[in-house]
Amino acid sequence: MEKVLMKGNEALAEAAIRAGCKCFFGYPITPQSELPAYLAREMPKRGGVFLQAESEVAAINMVYGAAGAGVRVMTSSSSPGISLKQEGISYLCGAELPCVIVNIMRGGPGLGDIQPAQSDYFQATRGGGHGDYRTIVLAPSSVQELVDLVYDAFDLADMYRNPVLILGDGILGQMMEPVVFKERPARQLPPKDWATTGKMGRQKTNVINSLYLDPIKLEEHNLKLFKKYQEIEAKEARYEILNGDDAEYFVVAYGICARIAHAAVEMAREDGIKVGLIRPITLWPYPKKAFEEVLPKAKAFLTVELSLGQMVEDVKLSVEGRAPVYFYGRTGGMVPTAEEIFEEIKKMRGLS
């Protein structure tokens, strides 16, 4: 199959079209601009809809409408824009609408800067909106994986009738790597017989809704959602363990940060330190299994993030006191070097 060299943002856009995304609604923001620009060029030619909304709030609600109408739909933004979508995301979860939401994260809080960051982890994995809900969160760390996960994202969304978030960062969006758009066997997906397409002869009306005035009904609904979440937790958690076979120490990192951490792990290996890398691919559900797998032999964990420490909570919740968990992070758009992380690995070894 043909390998092409592409920017992450553009590869993501292309993958979405190939995955059957019919509508895109978004509002401009750096550093994800190449994505809508690509779709603005391509969608009209390929029978899809590209629409620049008046705001992120409008965009996410357009997503709601289109998802409710039964088509594959995507939106994309970066940190401040994603904050504005929180009410909408909560509605999408409440109404169980499948869609894909891309966050190419930048430095915060507030206007912050436009450099790469991973400081929206809490927002993505805990739900920045109100209510008991979860979104599936995918964290690619290469352009090829970005592409592959876009297909998965649409499938997972349809399978579970739930929004799926793709969490990237400025580097991943801007970097170029070779990528192959693999043909994928079509997955068996449930029919969208709940969609509001007009009755078209159907007896009962279809209704897309998240209101349940009777709390007994809302509790029932939430428990149903909760069951779905448990199923997702059981089935969909994904991770990769690198250099793990004989490892006694583990670095935990995701996305672009995992790439740098990997380089650091290789440095440490050359230095004779038995260290491996756990790279969560799904951030929710969090791959606790990865930790169970390595815990028997793991002496300590080092979480590395482009933030002041957010995923570290999930690592601690996975480890539950069975080994020390250390943290190293850079924030505000700064990116650690492999050497910095290597130093932290040495420190971890010293401490435990």
């Binding site: 409008a58 409408g65 109408a69 007009g198 078209m200 009306t205």
Partner: protein
Amino acid sequence: MKVVFERPKSLQPTKTHYCPGCGHGVIHRLVAEVMDELGIQDKTIGVAPVGCAVLAYNYFDCDMQQAAHGRAPAVATGIKRALPDRVVFTYQGDGDLAAIGTAEIVHAAARGENITVIFVNNAIYGMTGGQMAPTTLVGQKTETSPYGRDPQMAGYPIRVCEMLATLDGPSFLARAELTDVKNINKAKSYIKKAFEMQLLGKGFSLVEILSPCPTNWGMKPKDAVDWVKNEMVKVFPPGVFKEPKEG
């Protein structure tokens, strides 16, 4: 015997939760009648707002989506773009459309989005218990303007039809009043026209309807109707604000 009047089939037989004398019931019926008359029930998707009409999805007998507060025009845009050959309408109150949803309605109109908006202006927030709306009249007392709306502090009512008429996107904009048989019929004719515009692909259409909220105005139903006729109409003159040029 000829039927002079019966329940339109696009309206579910369900009883509504609206208060006695509330205009929402009449407006629901008018919309349903138009759907029947145009034969579009089966291909129509409605969008319910957050407001007293939130349960509209239980009342209209067509597919429905319930939208976040103020975002019905965005939701309708999403539906229409996904399914351009369907008929899509929103049903919104004045808080929903003219306060939190201002950007969404202005931009749906500016885009000439090919949808129809039923805008129920009752000069107050009904569902939340009677707070000031963007359309509350100067001097009107509400929960959050307990001394009467003071323009120095709380500004002036927004005239939605007039505002949207400055844009190129809308094909049809009109305001009616639910005050008597004649005006109710006129409201219906506007609603019909608005849906027709959509069917012709002419772009955005909106009908604003001045409607009583006896409960939160603290009035008897009859007095509420009179208040629409005597007070609201002064600030919100009924009429057609935009229609396609002939020919």
